[in-house]
Each structure stands twice: as C-alpha cells, then as structure tokens.
C-alpha cells in the first residue's frame, strides 16, 4: 500500500468487468498487471525490507536490554530517499508543478499539527519549513492571483510558471483529531509530498536567482536584530520564525540590478492578428497592474486579525506590512507610524483613531485582490455590515445565476462609477415597483443598455408612456400588442411543434442522450431561478424592514 502511494499507482477500471471478475459483478479493485510488475522492480522495496529487519532487531535488543546493541543499531539505521521516485513520476518540472496542489495542501495541514503524538515532530517541522519557503517564493515572484476565505479554510491560487497552483490552508485553530482517519496513510503521502515540494522549492528559488535554503536579505536582517529578543535563543528556530514572519525580502545570489525588468522583446507569432496581439498586451498590462496592487501602501495589522495570511497576501501585491511587536517577530514599524495608510481591524469599534489612515476589515484586502483593484473602502469600515465575499473561482457561463454583487463588481472593473450604478439600480427598482404590469421586453432592453444617454432616453420614453397610458385606455394598447404577438406566437408554436415531431423520430439512443442533456439544462435553469427567487425574497424582506425602521424612527 505504501509503495502504491509513493509510486502513484492507482487501480484501473476494467473494460469488461464481468470477464475480469470471473463472471461476478461484485465490486473489486483491479490493478494492472504491468503496474504490479513495475512495483516489483522498485529498489526501494529492499530498503523497506531492511528497515523492517532493523525494527525487529531493535525491538529484540530493547527486550534483552542490550544497550550497546541498541546504540549500534540506531547508528546504522537504514535510510531511504525518494528522489528517484519523484524524478520518475515527474520527468519534467512542469509535470511536478501540475501536481503541486495536493502536496501544498497537505504540507500546510501538517505544519499546523501539534508537536505531540500523531506524527513525527521532524515531519511537522519539515512541512512548516517547506510551506514557509513556498510562501516566500510566491511573495518574491508575486505570483499570487486569487484568494478566497471559505468556511473550510483559506484558498489561494498562484500562477507558478504559467501553471495555476491552488492550495487550502486551515484556519489557525487546534485540530480536534478525528479517530476514523488513518494517519499512517496521510504520513506516507506527506513523506512523498515533502520530498517533491523540497525539490520544487529548490528549483523555484533558483529560477528567481534566490538562495536556497532561503536567507533573509542582509539589510533586513540587521533591522530585525534588535527586535529579536532574548527568548529566541535557538538560532535555527529563530531563523525559521523570522522567515515565517514573511516581512523581509530574501537574499539573492546575484544582486538585483536596478531596473531589472527589461522590456520583453516581442516575437510576433505567425498567423496571429494584430487584435490578438493587442489583447495579449492588454492582458499583460493588466497582470502587471494587478501585481502592483498594493504598491506604496503601508498596512498595519491589529492583533486580532490572522497575521500570516494577511501579511502573505499584502506582501504578494507589493504592500508593506507590520504588526504589533509583541505578536510576532519581524514587525518593521509601530502603530504610531504616521505613514501607515491602512490599518486592518477586526473589532466592532476602534477606540483611538489616528487621522490619515483607513481602518478596514480584513475582507477588504481579499476582495480587492480578487477584484484586481482597490475597492472603495466605505463598505469595509469596522462595525459595518460587510458585503458578501464572493468566490473568485467561479466564472459564470451563460444561463448561470449571477449574484447581483458580482454584477456590480464587473461593472466596477469595467470602470463605471459605482455610485451611479447603485443609484440607477435603486431607481429602476422603484420604477419596477411602480409599474409591475410593464411588459417584460422593455425591462430586458433596459437591463441590456448601459450607456447613460440611452438610459435617459429610456426614462423619458417611459415617462411619456406613462402619461400616454394615463390618458388612453390601456385595453386598447394591449389589444394591439396581442395581435402582433399572435403571429409570432403562431410561428413559434409551429416551430416548436415541428421540433417535437422531429424529436419523436429520433433514434432511441439519441433520444436518451437528448433527454438527458435537456434535463441537465432545465435543472440548471431551475436552480438559477430558485437562487434568484430567494434573493428577491430576501431583498424585499430587507427593504420592508428598512421601511419599518424608518417609520419607527419617524414616529
């Protein structure tokens, strides 16, 4: 089993289950014969055997209390390396990067385990070190793209050498260790993953001309020295602590030349039109802008906010970050520093406010990163009811339900003034309330139109209509429209009937497939409608409450 985990051998689903299983259809797992033979050739099998023998001898020596033998055996403890397996499983570096997701998630999980029981302390320390090293790499390369605060943990997505790498870290609380989990399996996975991650880190650091194992930049080191108190006696420990503080930049093998970023020469690919080139260029620019999102901003983290994720995210986008000295080493400036622009606070009220900085809730940082722009700060003041935190991993396709907050965000990204949008929304909502019997076509058109001029025109026209409808009998208008629609409807009916007849003629298999597809589509629509209805109900409830409170206030 351990060998299967290390070598990445998985069972296969046979093509003819009955044939393979000698006629019975009972559920069994099947491995390829080739895979089993492949496992037999593995040199690590012998190492495992040696280890088994070693454990047996050791136990015997302990039983006889032959301490010299115990020492000797311990000295000659057989070790094994997984390097060749890593190389074998991932012949190229890109392959390894593609499979990094699980490795990272596992390492981050293990690094939060307590140092007692469950698994070896060395493993936990190694995991912690590798995780911190990877975070430092992401900061140095500024490759973080998306962050998401979920109820399970924090999701991060970075783009490492063009490969999206997603991992999840748990919130920093003590785990209540479940009893129905086999930690040995997890430990075996972690063993492999740490090896993989170590090599990947090495390679990544070298691709950025950074030293590996990472060293904190000399200049920053000096700055850090005074902060380092007496309690950090162990040098090796304090080194990791400092590194994990994530506040200092890393030393480079080659000193970074000023104006490092040489304009990338453009190699026009043949067959690529100018438009595509432009689009690519724009994308590139947007990416650069995104990378420098927090450039020049100075953050201060209050002690109640989770330090590590916030420091990591802020540093990834070029911001400077500090925290209370007593919280963790690596703080670079104090609360009282006047140059602080944003202070991240997660309590309902701030007692002493300093002029010249924004007091914000941590969600602002994450939302800004996902929106690729610094969002307006008004919604994120301490004590304010936060706007919903949306997942950046969802890309809505046509027909999917899009929450209104996302629409707002998209509008913001397009560069529209948020205030206007909100106003318009409210206006349109009011209008909707006023005339519910308005036909739907017009509403749709309304929504589609975005430019303000047209909007105004629409409003005017609507007003005219209103006045007209007030003057004329509404019956007349509807009658005229009905007739118009009739023709269309007739045509539609005919078409739908033709379609129905054609569906009748489909072959059985195709019909099955068609029905399945259509069922899936319908279910999707149903779900979207359900969500929309829920939202509407919620909104109306909120509005009514508001009205009530207003009335109460008036009274």
């Amino acid at each position: 089993r351990r060998l299967c985990i290390l070598k990445g051998i998985y069972p296969h689903e046979p093509k003819h289950k009955k044939k393979v299983n000698k006629g019975s259809t009972a559920a069994r797992t099947f491995y390829l014969l080739k895979d089993i033979k492949f496992l037999l050739h593995e040199p690590i099998v012998n190492k495992f055997r040696e280890y088994k023998v070693f454990v047996r001898k050791l136990r015997k020596a302990y039983g006889k209390s032959e301490w010299s033998t115990v020492d000797r055996l311990k000295d000659n403890k057989p070790t094994y390396k997984l390097d060749h397996i890593v190389k074998e499983r991932y012949p190229t570096f890109i392959d390894a990067l593609r499979d990094l997701d699980d490795a990272l998630s596992m390492c981050f999980l293990f690094s939060t385990f307590p140092r007692t029981g469950k698994c070896h302390v060395q493993t936990i320390q190694l995991c912690r070190r590798l995780a911190v090293e990877f975070l430092n790499y992401v900061i140095a390369s500024r490759s973080l793209r998306k962050v998401f605060l979920s109820i399970k943990g924090i999701y991060y997505q970075a783009e490492v050498l063009g490969q999206p790498v997603t991992w999840i870290t748990p919130y920093t609380f003590a785990h209540d260790h479940p009893t129905d989990v086999d930690y040995r399996v997890m430990a075996t996975f972690t063993e492999f993953y740490t090896t993989l991650l170590g090599f990947v880190n090495f390679r990544l650091y070298h691709s950025l001309n950074l030293l590996y194992p990472p060293k904190i930049d000399g200049q920053a080191d000096v700055e850090l020295k005074p902060v380092e108190g007496k309690e950090y006696a162990m040098d090796s420990e304090s080194y990791l602590e400092k590194l994990s503080a994530l506040s200092a930049s890393l030393a480079r093998v080659v000193a970074p030349t000023h104006e490092d970023e040489v304009e990338i020469d453009e190699f026009p690919v043949e067959g690529e039109t100018a438009e595509q080139m432009d689009a690519r260029k724009k994308e590139q620019e947007a990416l650069e802008k995104h990378k420098k999102l927090f450039e020049g901003l100075r953050f201060f983290l209050n002690r109640e906010v989770p330090r590590e994720p916030l420091a990591f995210v802020i540093r990834c986008f070029g911001g400077q970050v500090s925290w209370d000295k007593s919280l963790c080493i690596g703080a670079t400036y104090d609360v009282s520093d006047p140059s602080i622009t944003h202070q991240i606070v997660d309590r309902p009220r701030v007692e002493k406010q300093v002029v010249g900085r924004y007091y914000l809730q941590p969600q602002w940082v994450f939302d800004s990163v996902n929106a690729k722009l610094c969002l307006p700060v008004a919604d994120y003041f301490p004590g304010v009811l936060l706007p919903p935190h949306l997942s950046p991993f969802v890309t809505e396709q046509e027909g999917d339900y899009v929450p209104p907050e996302k629409l707002k965000l998209l509008a913001l990204q397009r560069g529209e003034n948020p205030g206007d949008v909100r106003l318009q929304d409210e206006e349109s909502e009011e209008e909707e309330e006023e005339e519910d019997d308005n036909d739907k076509d017009e509403e749709e058109e309304e929504e589609e139109d975005e430019s303000e001029k047209e909007e105004e025109m629409k409003l005017k026209r609507m007003e005219e209509q209103k006045t007209q409808s007030n003057k004329a009998l509404p019956v007349k208008v509807t009658a005229g429209k009905l007739r118009l629609e009739d023709k269309q409807r007739l045509e539609q009916e005919q078409q739908s009937e033709e379609k129905r007849l054609a569906i009748m003629m489909m072959k059985k298999r195709e019909k099955y497939l068609y029905k399945k597809i259509m069922f899936g589509k319908k279910r999707k629509v149903r779900e979207a409608n359900k969500l929309a209805a829920k939202r509407k109900a919620h909104d109306t409830a909120v509005k009514e409450e508001k009205k009530k409170s207003k009335k109460a206030r008036r009274a």
Binding site: H12, D99, D176, V185, R203, P388, V394, P403, I517
Partner: protein
C-alpha cells in the same frame, strides 16, 4: 509541624515507659488506659476534664502554654525545657541538631591525591600482568573473525550530500516513458463556489426546509458536503471540523479510486435532432378538427366508411350501429343490434352496399339502404339470387336469412358462430369476408363467401391467439396477426409464405399499404412497427411515438399517409412515402399530432380511419364521439 518527640532521658522523673510500641494511639481511644508499663500494668490516661473554656483560660493565663506539649504515649502534658525549645528552633531552620557540630570543617583526604613513586605494597607483580589476556584475545579474535566474515561492517560515513538539489537539471525527453503517456492524472479538487464563502450572498444560505433535507440525506448523496453559513466578520469564523477528514478522503481517492478517462459527450442537443423534411412540404394531411359526430352514449369501438366516402358507420358499446353522413355529421340511421358491436366493415366493392357487423356471436350483413336506390336495390337482389346447393355441406357456421322484422331494419343475413366474435374484414373484391373468433382452437379464423353463403376454416391448427386478420389488397395473400407474429399465407397455394416478427409484446392492430408491400402493426406496448415485406421479416422501423397502447392503425388509400390512434387520446398522422424504386427506402415522417378525444376509463382513441378519397381522418374515442380531422 512539630518533629516527633523522642522520650527524652532527662525529662520525666516518674519514668513511665509505654510498651505498646509504635502503633496509632487512636486504638486506645475508647479505653481508660493508654498502654502498659514495663511490668505489664495498665497506664491510665490522666484525668482530663478540661472543656473549651478551661483550655482558653489556660491559654490566657499560663505563660508557658506555648512550650507545653502533650506526650501522645503517656497522655501527660510536658513542659519543654529551654534546650529542647532551642533544638526545635534549630531543626525548624534546617540546621544540625548538635550545637557543636561544624559542617564546614576542612576536609582531610584519606589518601593523598599525589602520585607517589613507590608502591604502597611491596608485593611482586602478577604473572598475568606480563602475559596477554586470554579472554581479551578471545574477544578480539571473535571480532576479527566477524570482520573477516563481513558480519561487522565499518560505520557508514555520513553522507553530506544536500537533501535537495536541482532534480530536473537535465530533463531529457527520453525519460518520458509510455507509462507517463498512459498515466491518468488525478482530477484536481473542485474549486469552491460562492456558497462556501464565510460571508456568502444571502441567497446561498439554506432555508430551514433545505437544511432539514440536507440532514436527512445520506452523506454520499449530498450536493454540498457542508452547510453554507454566514459569519459577520472574519474573527467569528471557527475552525472547520472536517478539514482533516476531507484531506484524508482526498488521499484515499488518490490511491484507491480507479481512474478512467471518460469521454464527455459534447454535442449540441440541436444537432441530435434529425433533419426531416418540413411537414409543410408534405401536405396535404389532416390538421384541424372539422366535425364531431355525437350520438353514441358509450365508447365507439369501430368505424368504417363506404367506398364512395359519403357514409360512415360506427359501432359502439351502447349496442347500436349508427350510420352518418360524412359531410354533415348527421346521423342517418340508428340500428339497435342487441349487443356490443366489436367490429364493422363496409363492403369495399362500390357496386354493393353492404355492411358486415360483428355482434356477439354473429356477423350481421346489413344493407343500410343509403345512397343510390339502384345500388342498394341491386345489392338486395344479389343476396336474394342465392340458390341453395343440392347437397347440404357441413359448415362451421350457420347462415340464417333475416326475419321480416330484421329485414325491415336492413339486416339481410346473419352468420351465426359458435363463439363470440372479434373482428370482421372484407376482401377487396367484396365477395369474401373473414371473421375472427375469440377462441383458442383452430376455429379462430373463418373465411366466408357471401354469394354462395359458404364458410370454411382455412387452418388446421391453432398458432396462437389471433388478434386480427387482413386480406392483401391485390394478391391472394392473407395476413394473420397473433400476439407477437404476423403470418402471411398464400390462399391459392394454401401455405405459409412469411412470418413477420413484430418485436412487440402484443399486437393490437394491423394495416396494409394499398401497394401491398408494406404493413404496419400497432401494439399494446405503444410501438408501431413498419414492415417492408420485400426487405425482411423484421420491422424496417419501430416508431415509439405514443405514450400509451396503440389501439388501431390505418393507411390512406391514395395519399402517402398513415395514422395511429392510442390510449393517450391522440392520433398521430405520419407521412409514409413508399417509392416505386425498390432501392429507396420508405420515408417516414410524423406530420401531425391530433388531439381532441377526452380520456374516459383510461381509454382514448379506439379506432382511426382514413377517408377513401380526401386526406381526412376519422377517429372514434372512448368518450362516445367520432371526430373528423381535415
């Protein structure tokens, strides 16, 4: 707090030694004595009758109270002397009990630490100190032997190679083996959606019912493996209790789940719909409900139309047969027959005006006396011109001439069978007709000749329950549909020519194309099978248009149309073009779904029939109406 007092040698003058030894003194609690002295006499407890007040007074008054202790062994109060108090103080401070003991005296070595040149003793050295030790030699030789044999190995040098190095420094494309190409990478974890956020939009939160439903579901079939929750701020978010579980499950998936590449069908559903010629191009066909023939009070089981297309006859469960004028929907005549009418058939010969009606055990041949007087007069003459043969032949049925009363109603002849009848059908020429008896013997199908009033039983053996029979319109073939097969007999040669497999469970009805090469069969399992007799004995196409059992099928005489009526209350009209070119397969296109009949007793349409000349279709339903679609 007080150290146990040893009996001091100088203290009591009256030397009372207790001999009980080192026992808990509580044992003597309830006795008047406290132990025994050296002579074995009891030592009595001193009389103590001090109450709290006395103790208090003594405490206040006695200046030596603080140095008074009670000897537990004797029970007497002892006043400590000054030396004893001093000793107590010293011991309390952790000092030595002896006042005169000095713990910090300079140490004096027993032996000097300096190495002296002369031995301490003058004893000569042992011999064993000159010769090598045998035990040691043995030990060494053992070790040497072990080294020689390779049992003991030198300690491995610590390898100081770095744990991590550039593993992919030399990526050579040859190392990508077949394994890697075959390798199915594990699918990545699903990325989280909005509902997983710690502060999701309100619509993603579960309502009470949804939460209840979520809890009742099996963990495996839940759509979300968590309940979406909303927290007001990041500070309030707790740890996720199933985090380790989820990681572990992922690990299990990675090494225990069989992996398989699944081809996902990525088709536009519109492409799946076959391209058919537009129904508009296939006109004419009936599209709208034109007339409703009302009058029957129960389900109308059967329909038939005169060859001219002017009259329609319908038989119903209300024991009547009604004759209608097609164009006006007027009921021309009502014929009570005294039994449920199972089948009616108008003689296809245009020169004869005769209708065969199945009522219970007899076939009535009725002259409806409609239309041209000459015509129905000629029919009567034809029937009366029968001359009985000289010798009476044994017949399976009885031919009875109608009584005068019956004659006035139009009934001319009655063919009495022994069992209840199911169906009657005419031969194309109009002289012969066949009847089906619901029976299990070989007498199920009988063929009758009207002009000779002569019946015969064509089959020697029963081949199953016969559902319906049919004459070939041109050739001397006879179709017999049993439950699952359609047998085609050659009447001239008197042999079985074909056996068509319908692939249905229970055939209900059958119709033949006027060309004679194509047959359709409707079945109770809602299938319609189209046979091409030249092609094969299996259906050319099996149409599953109806949702419920098919009751009847019909072909049009001239137009390439066929219709099927079903229990779901619809009549589906299809375009069924048969080409003269043998190589071209027939083209079947459904063109219209006609609705109108109301479902009664779970029955919809019971019979369908085409007008002989116009593209019109009649349908009779369980709701007691006959409808005409044009």
């Amino acid at each position: 707090p007080c150290p146990p007092l040893t009996p001091l040698p100088s203290a009591p003058l009256q030397d009372i030694r207790n001999t009980v030894g080192n026992i808990p003194m509580e044992w003597y609690q309830d006795f008047p004595h406290i132990g025994y002295d050296l002579e074995g006499k009891r030592i009595y407890k001193p009389i103590r009758n001090k109450d709290e007040l006395d103790v208090f007074l003594e405490k206040m008054e006695n200046p030596d109270y603080w140095r008074t202790v009670q000897d537990k062994m004797t029970g007497a109060d002892i006043k400590l002397t000054d030396e004893q108090v001093d000793l107590v103080h010293r011991l309390q401070k952790g000092q030595f009990g002896d006042v005169h003991f000095d713990p910090y005296e300079p140490a004096v070595d027993f032996f000097t630490h300096e190495v002296m040149i002369h031995p301490v003793t003058n004893r000569p050295a042992d011999k064993r100190s000159f010769i090598p030790s045998l035990i040691e030699k043995e030990k060494v030789s053992k070790l040497v032997h072990a080294i020689k044999m390779g049992w003991i190995k030198p300690r491995k040098p610590k390898d100081d190679t770095p744990t991590y190095y550039d593993l992919w420094a030399h990526e050579d494309p040859n190392s990508i083996l077949g394994r890697h190409k075959m390798h199915v990478p594990a699918p990545k974890m699903k990325l989280p959606g909005h509902e997983e956020s710690y502060n999701p939009p309100p619509e993603y939160l579960l309502s009470e019912e949804e939460k209840l439903a979520w809890e009742q579901q099996e963990p495996a079939e839940r759509k979300l493996n968590f309940v979406p929750q909303q927290y007001r701020c990041l500070r309030a978010v707790p740890a996720y209790s199933r985090f380790i579980h989820e990681r572990f499950e992922r690990c299990l998936d990675l090494y225990l789940c069989p992996r398989q590449r699944k081809m996902r069908v990525n088709v536009d559903p519109e492409d799946l719909i076959p391209k058919l010629p537009k129904p508009r191009d296939l006109q004419p066909f009936p599209t709208t409900l034109a007339l409703v023939y009302c009058g029957h009070t129960s389900l109308v089981r059967c329909l038939s139309i005169s060859p001219s297309g002017q009259w329609l006859v319908s038989g119903s469960d209300d024991c009547t047969v009604r004759f209608w004028e097609v164009s006006t929907a007027r009921c021309m005549k009502t014929l009570p027959v005294g039994g449920v009418v199972k089948s009616v058939a108008w003689n296809p010969n245009p020169t004869v005006c005769l209708v065969a009606i199945c009522v219970e055990q007899s076939v009535l041949l009725v002259n409806p006396c409609l239309g041209d007087k000459l015509l129905y007069g000629a029919t009567d003459q034809l029937l009366e011109s029968y001359v009985a043969p000289e010798e009476e032949r044994v017949q399976p049925v009885q031919w009875v001439v109608a009584t005068t009363e019956e004659h006035s109603k139009g009934i001319r002849l009655v063919v009495q069978h022994s069992k209840a009848l199911k169906q009657v059908t005419w031969h194309g020429k109009g002289d012969y007709f066949a009847s089906v008896v619901s029976d299990n013997s070989n007498m199920q199908v009988l063929i009758h000749q009207t002009s000779k009033r002569w019946s015969q039983n064509p089959f020697r053996k029963s081949k199953g329950l016969v559902q319906c029979v049919l004459f070939h319109p041109i050739r001397p073939y006879f179709f017999v549909a049993t439950q699952r097969y359609v047998r085609v007999y050659n009447l001239l040669k008197q042999e079985l020519t074909k056996k068509l497999m319908t692939n249905c469970k229970w055939v209900s009805s059958m119709a033949i194309h006027p060309g004679g090469d194509n047959v359709i069969c409707g079945s109770y399992d809602s299938k319609l099978a189209w046979f091409d007799l030249d092609l094969s004995t299996r259906p050319y196409q099996l149409l599953r248009h109806h949702k419920k059992a098919l009751r009847s099928v019909a072909f049009h005489k001239h137009y390439p149309l066929f219709a099927s009526g079903s229990d779901d209350g619809t009549v589906i009209v299809c375009h069924g073009m048969v080409y003269n070119d043998l190589l071209q397969n027939p083209l079947l296109v459904p063109v219209k779904v006609l609705k109108g009949h109301v479902l009664t007793l779970d029955l919809g349409v019971l019979d369908v029939l085409f007008h002989p000349t116009q593209p019109w279709v009649f349908s009779s339903g369980a709701d007691g109406t006959v409808r005409l679609y044009t």
